[in-house]
């Protein structure tokens, strides 16, 4: 089973294995690691993180993400399943960072 390394901005790091019938979110929940989430079906973006290394497969379209977000490496952990070992930056701050904002 692929190993996923979850990285928080405060330096915390956790390694979990995620099976083919799990998502990063459900795999983390099984290990007692609480990641942010909302709709759990790819529409809301609350669970967004950034894929630093590796490959993910998605069971549904990542509707909350625009092309530019995907190009920047943003991924939805609620519907993403690792195809290879991965390193994923997680945490609630990714949602606001992903959006363009009208201030300087």
């Amino acid at each position: 089973m692929p190993e996923v390394t979850l990285l928080w901005r405060d330096g915390r790091e956790e390694r979990i294995t995620v099976s083919a019938d799990e998502t990063i979110l459900t795999g983390a929940e099984r290990e007692g690691i609480g990641l942010p989430y909302g709709c759990k079906n790819g529409a809301c973006g609350t669970c967004v993180g950034r894929l630093l290394e590796g490959e993910l497969e998605f069971e549904r379209p990542q509707r909350a993400l625009k092309d530019g977000h995907r190009e920047d490496g943003y991924v939805l952990t609620c519907i993403g399943t690792p195809a290879t070992d991965c390193r994923v930056a997680v945490g609630a701050h990714h949602q606001a960072e992903m959006m363009s904002t009208p201030w300087k």
Binding site: C44, G45, M98
Partner: protein, 464 residues
């Protein structure tokens, strides 16, 4: 409190608190006369969109000035799952069902805006409410609907919820109906009557319902993007429905003057066709009324954008909530970005006249702290006492939008504040003795959203 207008026991003079036959009040004026000053508030508390590993909750707030726990959260009903985004909520019954013997205003219907999960909370014990039922998202998706928003009870014990998207979070939205056992009855409207949805209000004596527009869930959920506005992905239309038939009779496109029309409020008097919608992004308050067989809508209050040194573009006021006092005399509103709570005299509904305002919080508020507590975010969800003398508000808009516009809210949480209103003089002043700090919740700082009173309020009661 008593309500005897349709009761077979109308001759009996002794009426205790729950001793009326149907829920609510005979008329808006009866609500003002009969309601005791509110002692308990129900407030939505949220952790979604933060790193706090906890569920959203219903907060029971003590608003009884005689109580030792005044302005404290005295109980919390935690939801069984995380990530719901509790937002708006409503009652199983209100004054629209006051002809229904045996029906009580007792159960809160609390949707998760992100999760599409619907919670039922029994408030028989007002200060110790209990979660009694959960409708899981899969059941909601079966009707190709998601993103539940506004809850109104409709006459005869049913409950209707505006749904902003389809099962995938795309358009179209619609309306979901629950029966009086809190089971999904099905979809209220034929699919395709509307695309976008948000808030709604019905005025049954006029056989009309008004619905407004936010955007597709997949558009507004992740956050606010100006490009989406430029691409026409946000709403600007009002839909006037035939209430009995469940079909749209008339759609008014407000154009650029009416971008993101959110809260919809009819005057409380059941005869009236007048009301208001807050167009949040355009920062206009739209007045509507029926004339010559059709509805007309135009801006009657316009808030100017303001320059801010940290912004590339002028900052809109963003009036995100409005409400009408039970006597239909005042329209209250909140400008979330600018940081202003305001009241306008609407005794001439087409020509609102500014009565008073408080500049607090937001990006420009004159008052930036209460009891040394820094206010993050501006006035947002409002609730007014039934007698019109106390205005309360919270400061969170929507978790993902809060994170963009007021990022400190995730670390500091929301506050609930209060102003004293003098409806005779048309004035309001901040009550600095009142502060509910959701930042001090045990699991971590929480956001706070909609507020309701156990005995009905200015944004839930409708009259037949």
């Amino acid at each position: 409190m008593s309500d005897t207008h349709s009761s077979p026991d109308a001759g009996i003079q002794e009426h205790h608190e729950h001793d009326h036959e149907g829920p609510g009040y005979a008329t808006p004026q009866a609500a003002i006369e009969e309601a005791e000053p509110e002692k308990t508030a129900y407030v939505m508390g949220l952790y979604v969109g933060t790193d706090v590993d906890a569920s959203d909750f219903l907060a029971v707030v003590d608003v009884d000035p005689e109580s030792e726990t005044y302005s404290e959260i005295i109980d919390r009903v935690e939801m069984p799952n995380r990530g719901d985004e509790l937002h708006h909520f409503g009652w199983n019954a209100c004054s629209s069902s006051c002809h229904m013997d045996g029906l009580e205003r007792r159960h809160l219907v609390i949707p998760g805006q992100r999760s599409s999960r619907i919670h039922i909370v029994d408030t028989k014990e007002r200060r110790d409410p209990e979660l009694t039922k959960v409708i899981e998202p899969e059941e909601v998706y079966e009707h190709d609907l998601s993103a539940p928003h506004t809850v109104h009870c409709v006459p005869d014990g049913e409950i209707m919820i505006s749904m902003l998207g389809d099962a995938d979070g795309e358009l179209p939205g619609g309306f979901l109906e629950l029966n009086d056992n809190f089971e999904i009855e099905g979809r209220w409207d034929p699919p395709g009557e509307i695309q976008m949805n948000y808030d709604y209000w019905y005025q049954p004596r006029q056989n009309v319902m008004l619905s407004t527009e936010w955007a597709a869930p997949k558009t507004y959920y992740p956050g606010f993007d100006l490009e989406d506005v430029e691409e026409g992905k946000y709403g600007q239309q009002l839909h006037f429905w035939d209430w009995e038939a469940g079909t749209v009779e008339q759609t008014i496109d407000l154009g650029e003057q009416g971008l993101i029309p959110l809260e919809a409020r009819f005057l409380h008097t059941p005869e009236s066709t007048h009301g208001y919608v807050g167009a949040a992004l355009s920062s206009n308050i739209i007045h509507f009324a029926e004339r010559d067989g059709e509805y007309h809508a135009e801006p009657v209050i316009e808030f100017d954008d303001r320059e801010h040194e940290d912004w590339d573009i002028p900052v809109p006021a963003l009036p995100t909530d409005i409400l009408i006092s039970m006597d239909d005399r005042y329209l209250f509103g909140s400008n979330w970005l600018h940081g202003e709570a305001w009241m306008y005299d609407i005794s001439d509904p087409s020509n609102p006249r500014k009565a008073d305002s408080i500049s607090i919080g937001g990006l420009f508020g004159d008052i930036s702290e209460v009891q040394d507590r820094e206010i993050v975010g501006g006035p947002q969800m409002l609730q007014l006492s039934l007698d019109g003398e106390r205005l309360y508000w919270t400061t969170s808009l929507f978790s993902s939008w809060d994170n963009q516009f007021f990022p400190e809210m995730a670390e500091k949480g929301s506050v609930m504040l209060k102003a004293d209103v003098d409806p005779r003089k048309g004035t309001m002043s901040l009550d600095e003795d009142f502060l509910v700090d959701f930042g001090e919740c045990e699991a971590g700082p929480a956001r706070a959203h909609e507020i309701r009173w156990p005995d009905g309020d200015c944004t839930s009661d409708v009259w037949q």
